[in-house]
């Protein structure tokens, strides 16, 4: 049950093609001037790319559930840190 990773070269190459395509896309979009949207789009694409890497290259997709739970816990805690920090930054009495 531990060795259920698909050991199929084709899938990996397809994922890689997808990753390269997304890289091209994000560079192209950065060239347009989308102002505040730029960062959101760039982060969305980066998140998609890392999901691809994690799910296929790191085999999270075929791993047992406990690993997925771990990853979610780690990400939730990280997001908590960022969000709570920003409650300060956004509402802070302006510096001089």
């Amino acid at each position: 049950m531990e060795k259920t990773h698909s050991i199929n070269y084709g899938t990996y190459v397809l994922v890689w093609l997808g990753l390269v395509a997304l890289t091209t896309l994000t560079v192209a979009i950065a060239g347009l001037n989308l102002y505040s949207l730029t960062i959101i789009v760039a982060m969305a694409i980066a998140t998609t790319k890392s999901l691809l890497v994690a799910n296929y290259f790191m085999h999270v997709k075929s791993d047992s559930r406990v690993f997925k739970v771990f990853i979610v816990v780690c990400i939730v805690i990280f997001l908590t840190m960022i969000i709570l920090t920003f409650f300060d930054l956004i509402f802070r009495y302006p510096a001089k």
Partner: protein, 533 residues
């Protein structure tokens, strides 16, 4: 084949090398114990000297620079070398595998590596006293920009703390994997002893909070060496972001200290009241709840620093919520005593002292969590008293409880119980005489980290200093009594001197190298007793 105790075992290396190169979790635990007692007592001496300096306003025995250095070293050593690693590294290492029915932790070699990181980090802290600009004087919080401006040896000391972080992370990593992968057959999650639950929750904090401290300390070093500008306000950095980063780690670190201690209470009370724990589920779950909520409240260390009012309100609300699972635990412990058959032996005595001291610490935390009172009380002696009640009264008292509880199992020797009880009472009385006046001092407006003070505070400081002498006498009695027990010739062979129900009381005393001849199969909860069946 498995008759030799872990103390006597002779493998390829003997003598000292047999210890220093051993990957046996029990030997590593004992090595941590030996090292930590040395550092703990050193830091106690620093504290004693500080209290002596506070006997009179102005100079008593030392100058301000020495005093500033002393409280920094007292904090750094107590926190990074004793209370954070204390219970997991010593008793977690020694007993977690046995309690789970395993022969060792998941990664024994990483476990030994972790001990070496600890020792290297500790020696580096001591070494930082000797060269460079002299011993650090920043306080254990290393707040910027002072830590960037002072000429003392901050870079090196901070690197030492960074190395200690590695040790902590590796221990946490080891424990999580051990608990997931190495429980004996039949031991499902809810048949696990509560000490293991405490360690599990702690391990997650060690793993997911320590790296934040690591990177923050690294940035201080880089800032001092290269001037990268990330924290230096002269170059555009924001000192408040430093404080955020520091407390994102350091608040959860409080729970690294206290969660295993709480787990230990849940071991000792059932043993000495001869009954099952009251509310196993709520206690186990509140460990995880505390671990998680612990990440949400770091801002309450910064209520007066100028963070936004919105975030102060949010952090204050969350802080009050974190009090609740701790309260639930205390109620459950007291309820466990109900209708028990209580045998007031030294370990239980320490635990009862813990419950009172920890409750005082926790309840005074409410005043500090509340916004307007915290503005007045933060950075005063009130805070100093509060965290000494929580940390020393909490983790420190339970360190003694754990020593007295597991001493016979670890060394196959017994200490004098009467003297242990005298030591415990002396410690408890001295503790309150030492720290309680600090609450009043703080309320009257005595700021912390003050070398000198106004004459009107004198009486309370004198009482507090006398308390420090009583408390240290208590610690002295406790340590000498244990040492005498350790040096005794006669061994005890009683497998289960207290009548405990967890697995460590089923293996020989002291435990053999491989813990179990045959891995046990678990069929019941950790605190269930035959007589109830």
């Amino acid at each position: 084949m498995n008759e030799v105790s872990y103390l006597k075992y002779e493998g390829k290396h003997n003598g000292l090398a047999g210890w220093l190169l051993s990957t046996d979790h029990k030997r590593i635990g004992v090595m941590y114990l030996a090292a930590m007692i040395v550092f703990f007592l050193t830091a106690v001496v620093f504290g004693l000297l500080m209290k002596f300096e506070m006997l009179t306003p102005g100079r008593t025995i030392m100058g301000p620079q020495t005093y500033n250095t002393l409280f920094t070293l007292h904090g750094v050593m107590m926190i990074f070398l004793f209370i954070i690693p204390g219970l997991p590294a010593i008793f977690g290492n020694f007993f977690l595998p046995i309690m789970l029915g395993a022969k060792d932790v998941a990664f024994p070699r990483i476990n030994l590596l972790s001990w070496y990181f600890y020792i290297i980090g500790a020696l580096m802290i001591l070494a930082s006293l000797l060269f460079g600009g002299g011993p650090i004087d920043t306080g254990w919080t290393f707040y910027v920009p002072y830590s960037l401006r002072t000429g003392t040896n901050v870079t090196f000391a901070v690197f030492a703390a960074f190395v200690l972080g590695f040790s902590s992370i590796l221990t946490g990593l080891n424990f999580i994997t051990t608990i997931h992968r190495m429980r004996a057959p039949g031991m499902n999650w809810f048949r696990m002893p509560l000490f293991a639950w405490g360690l599990y929750a702690t391990a997650w904090i060690q793993l997911l909070a320590t790296p934040i401290l690591g990177i923050t300390l690294l940035l201080i070093m880089l800032e001092r060496i290269f001037g990268i500008g990330i924290f230096d306000p002269a170059l555009g950095g924001d000192p408040l972001l430093y404080q955020h980063m520091f407390w994102i780690y350091s608040h959860p670190a409080v729970y690294i200290m206290i969660l295993p201690a709480m787990g230990l209470v849940s071991e000792i009370i059932p043993t000495f009241s001869k009954k099952n724990i009251f509310g196993y589920g709520p206690i186990a779950m509140s460990s995880l709840a505390i671990a998680f909520v612990g990440y949400l409240v770091w801002g309450h260390h910064m209520f007066s620093t100028g963070i936004s009012d919105t975030s102060r309100a949010i952090f204050s609300l969350l802080t009050f919520l974190v009090a609740i699972p701790s309260g639930v635990k205390v109620f459950n412990w007291v309820a466990t005593l109900y209708k028990g058959s209580i045998d007031l032996r030294p370990p239980l005595l320490f635990v009862l002292i813990f419950i009172i001291l920890f409750s005082i610490g926790g309840l005074t935390g409410l005043v500090l969590g509340s916004l307007n009172t915290d503005i007045h009380l933060t950075d005063t002696y009130f805070v100093v008293a509060h965290f000494h009640y929580v940390m020393f009264g909490g983790m420190g008292t339970l360190f003694f409880a754990a020593l007295h509880y597991w001493f016979p199992k670890m060394f196959g020797k017994m200490y004098n119980e009467k003297i242990a009880a005298i030591g415990a009472w002396t410690f408890a009385i001295g503790f309150n005489v030492l720290y309680f006046p600090m609450f009043i001092l703080g309320y009257l407006g005595m700021p912390r980290r003050y070398y000198d003070y106004l004459p009107e505070f004198r009486n309370l400081h004198v009482i507090s200093t006398i308390g420090s002498w009583i408390m240290v006498t208590g610690i002295f009695i406790i340590v000498i009594n244990l040492l005498k027990g350790f040096l005794k010739k006669e061994m005890i062979t009683d497998i289960n001197p207290w009548g405990g129900t967890t697995l460590e009381w089923t293996v020989p005393t002291p435990p053999p190298v491989e813990n179990f001849d045959k891995i046990p199969v678990i069929t019941r909860g950790p605190y269930e007793r035959d007589e109830h069946k």
